[in-house]
C-alpha cells in the first residue's frame, strides 16, 4: 500500500523530466541521426531515401557517381581535432600551476579567487570574444600599445590567424580546465609530498611520481571538458579566424544556414557527437563516474 503510493509519487516526479527530455532532447538527436542518412533534395529539402553517401563524402567511399569524395573534410576534421588538442594543452599549462597557487592561499582568498575565476564563465561567449577582437585587430589595443611603446613599427596581423583562434579558445575554456584541476589539487595529501621529499626524492621526482598521478583525474576531466566544446566551436574561428581558419563547426553551420545541405551537415554533426561519446566512454572507463559530478 505504502510502496504503491511511493511509486506513484516517483512517477509523478519523473514524468515531466522524462517527457520533456524524451521529446525535446532524445527526439531531436534521433531525428538528426535519421537526417544524416537521407538524400539531400535539390532546393535545400530532403528526399526520404536511404543515402549513406553523406558519410561517404567525408570518409572516402563516395564513388564519384552520386557524391564526390573530397579529402578536404577529413582535413578540416583533423585541423579541428589538432586545434582542440592544442587548446587542451594550453589551458592545462596555464591552469595547472594557477590551481596550485590558489590551493596554497589562505581559505578566504582561496574562495575569493575561485569565485572570480568562475565568474567570467557566466558572461556571454560573444562578449568575451568581442574583448579579444578589440585587442587583436589591426587597429586594436595590442597594436596601438606596441606601436606607442615603439616595440614595433608597423601593426602586426594577429587576428584571422590560428594564434588568434587559440587565444580566444583558451580564454573562453579556462574555467572548464581550472575547476576540475583545482578540485583534484585541493584534495592532494601534502603529507605524501613531504614523505616523498623526506625519503630523498628530488622535486621533479616528487612531481612526476606523486603529484601528477594523484591529480590525473582532474587533468582527464579538464581535458575532456575542454576538448569537446573546442572541437565543435564555430564562433571563435568565425570572429577571430576569419575565413582563414575553417573548423568543423563552421562547416556544419554553412551546411545548415547557407549551403542548405541539411543531411550532409547532420552527418558532420553526428561525427562530432561520436567523438564526444568515445571520449566520455573512455573517461568513464578509466576514471569513474564520480569525478564527472563536479
Amino acid at each position: 500500500m505504502e510502496s504503491k503510493r511511493e511509486n506513484r509519487r516517483l512517477i509523478a516526479l519523473l514524468t515531466p523530466g522524462t517527457l520533456f527530455l524524451g521529446i525535446f532532447f532524445l527526439g531531436p538527436l534521433g531525428m538528426m541521426i535519421v537526417f544524416s542518412f537521407l538524400e539531400p533534395g535539390l532546393y535545400g529539402g530532403v528526399e526520404w531515401n536511404f543515402y549513406h553517401w553523406n558519410y561517404g563524402r567525408i570518409l572516402g567511399w563516395a564513388d564519384g557517381e552520386w557524391e564526390e569524395f573530397d579529402p578536404v573534410y577529413v582535413e578540416i576534421f583533423l585541423r579541428s581535432a589538432r586545434l582542440a588538442f592544442t587548446n587542451v594543452t594550453i589551458t592545462l599549462l596555464i591552469c595547472y600551476p594557477a590551481a596550485f597557487w590558489v590551493s596554497g592561499l589562505s581559505a578566504r582568498w582561496r574562495t575569493f579567487v575561485v569565485f572570480i575565476v568562475t565568474l567570467p564563465f557566466f558572461v556571454s561567449m560573444v562578449v568575451r570574444l568581442f574583448c579579444w577582437v578589440l585587442i587583436l585587430r589591426p587597429s586594436g589595443f595590442l597594436n596601438i600599445a606596441l606601436l606607442g611603446l615603439g616595440l614595433i613599427s608597423e601593426p602586426i596581423d594577429i587576428i584571422y590567424t590560428e594564434t588568434a583562434v587559440l587565444i580566444g579558445m583558451a580564454y573562453i575554456m579556462l574555467p572548464f580546465m581550472f575547476l576540475p584541476l583545482y578540485a583534484s589539487i585541493e584534495k592532494l595529501d601534502y603529507s605524501l609530498i613531504e614523505a616523498s621529499s623526506d625519503l630523498g626524492a628530488k622535486p621533479y621526482q616528487t612531481f612526476f611520481r606523486v603529484i601528477l598521478p594523484a591529480t590525473l583525474p582532474g587533468i582527464a576531466a579538464g581535458a575532456v571538458l575542454v576538448f569537446i566544446p573546442s572541437l565543435g566551436n564555430f564562433i571563435v574561428p568565425d570572429l577571430l579566424g576569419g575565413a582563414k581558419v575553417l573548423m568543423i563547426g563552421n562547416l556544419v553551420e554553412q551546411q545548415f544556414l547557407s549551403a542548405r545541405n541539411w543531411p550532409f551537415g547532420a552527418a558532420l554533426s553526428v561525427m562530432i557527437m561520436l567523438v564526444m561519446f568515445t571520449l566520455i566512454v573512455l573517461y568513464l572507463r578509466r576514471i569513474g563516474r564520480s569525478e564527472l559530478a563536479r
Partner: protein, 273 residues
C-alpha cells in the same frame, strides 16, 4: 624565512593568470567611455555618449556616426532575452528539482539511466544540440520563435538545475526526513517543512545561474531563433559580423555588469547550500 624561488614564480604565475582573465574585460569597460569617434582604441575623452546612443538619446556624435542599427531592434532583443530567460528559468527549475528529488530520494532500477540522461545535455556540444533542435522543429513544422528558443534552452538548463540541486541532496543527511516521516508527517509536509528549507538556497542558486546562462546563450539560440525572436547575444553576434562599432563596447559593458551581478548572487546561494 626566505620563500623558495619556485614559490615566487608560482605567485607571479597566479597574478599573470588573473591578469589574463580580467585584462580583456577591463579594457572593454574602460574604452566604452572613450569619445574618440574614429579609432575607439585611441583614448581621447571620457564620455557617456555611446551609452546615450544605445538608448536612443541624441549625442554630439549623432551627426557623424549614426552607428547603432536601431534602438528598437536592440530593445526588442533585450526583451526577447528576458522573456526567454524568465520562462526557461521557471520551467527548468520546477522540472529539474522534481527530477533531482526523484533520483536522489528514491530507489529504482532506472536510476543510473536517469543520471546519464541528465548529464548528457551538459556535455553535448552546443552546435550538435542546436542543429538537432533545428532539424526537429523544422521537421515537425514547429514555428521557430520564442517558444522554440525556450524549449531549446530548457533541454540543457533542466540538467543544470538538476546537477546543482542533486549535489545538495546527495550531501544532505536524510535522517531529518526519515524522522519526520516516522512521526507521521505526510510526504508533502515533510517536503515543505524539512526538505525544501534545506535545499532552497540550492534551488535559488541553480535558478539564478540557469537564468544567466539562458540570457547569455549564443550557439543554440543562433540556430533556433526565428526572424523576430533574436536574443541579445545573437543580435550582438550579428552586429560584430558586420563590423565593430563603439556602441558594442557600451552594450558589452552593460551585459558584463548584468552577468556579474546575477552570477555572483547565484554562486553565493549555491555556495550557501
Amino acid at each position: 624565512m626566505k620563500q623558495p624561488w619556485w614559490k615566487c614564480l608560482l605567485t607571479l604565475h597566479g597574478f599573470l593568470f588573473l591578469f589574463f582573465v580580467y585584462a580583456p574585460i577591463i579594457i572593454v569597460v574602460v574604452y566604452s567611455f572613450n569619445s574618440h569617434p574614429i579609432n575607439m582604441m585611441i583614448w581621447k575623452d571620457f564620455t557617456f555618449d555611446w551609452y546615450r546612443s544605445i538608448f536612443g538619446y541624441p549625442t554630439i556624435l549623432t551627426e557623424q556616426t549614426l552607428y547603432v542599427e536601431s534602438t528598437d531592434q536592440l530593445v526588442a532583443a533585450v526583451k526577447n532575452s528576458l522573456i526567454v530567460a524568465a520562462s526557461t528559468t521557471f520551467f527548468s527549475t520546477i522540472v529539474g528539482v522534481a527530477t533531482a528529488l526523484a533520483v536522489y530520494r528514491h530507489q529504482f532500477r532506472l536510476k543510473p539511466f536517469y543520471q546519464g540522461l541528465l548529464y548528457m545535455p551538459m556535455v553535448m556540444p552546443d552546435i550538435v544540440l542546436g542543429i538537432a533542435l533545428l532539424v526537429f522543429f523544422v521537421g515537425f513544422s514547429i514555428k521557430l520563435g520564442l517558444i522554440s528558443v525556450i524549449i531549446g534552452h530548457c533541454t540543457f538548463l533542466i540538467s543544470y538545475v538538476f546537477v546543482v540541486v542533486s549535489a545538495r541532496l546527495a550531501g544532505m543527511d536524510d535522517s531529518l526526513e526519515q524522522a519526520s516521516a516516522d512521526l507521521g508527517a505526510t510526504p508533502w509536509t515533510t517536503f515543505r517543512r524539512i526538505t525544501l528549507p534545506q535545499i532552497l538556497p540550492g534551488i535559488i542558486g541553480g535558478a539564478l545561474l540557469a537564468f544567466i546562462i539562458s540570457m547569455d546563450d549564443l550557439v543554440i539560440t543562433y540556430f533556433i531563433a526565428g526572424v523576430n525572436s533574436t536574443t541579445l547575444p545573437v543580435f550582438i553576434y550579428g552586429m560584430l559580423r558586420r563590423g565593430i562599432k563603439p556602441e558594442i563596447n557600451a552594450i558589452a559593458t552593460l551585459m558584463l555588469l548584468f552577468s556579474f551581478v546575477i552570477a555572483s548572487l547565484g554562486l553565493y546561494f549555491r555556495k550557501r547550500s
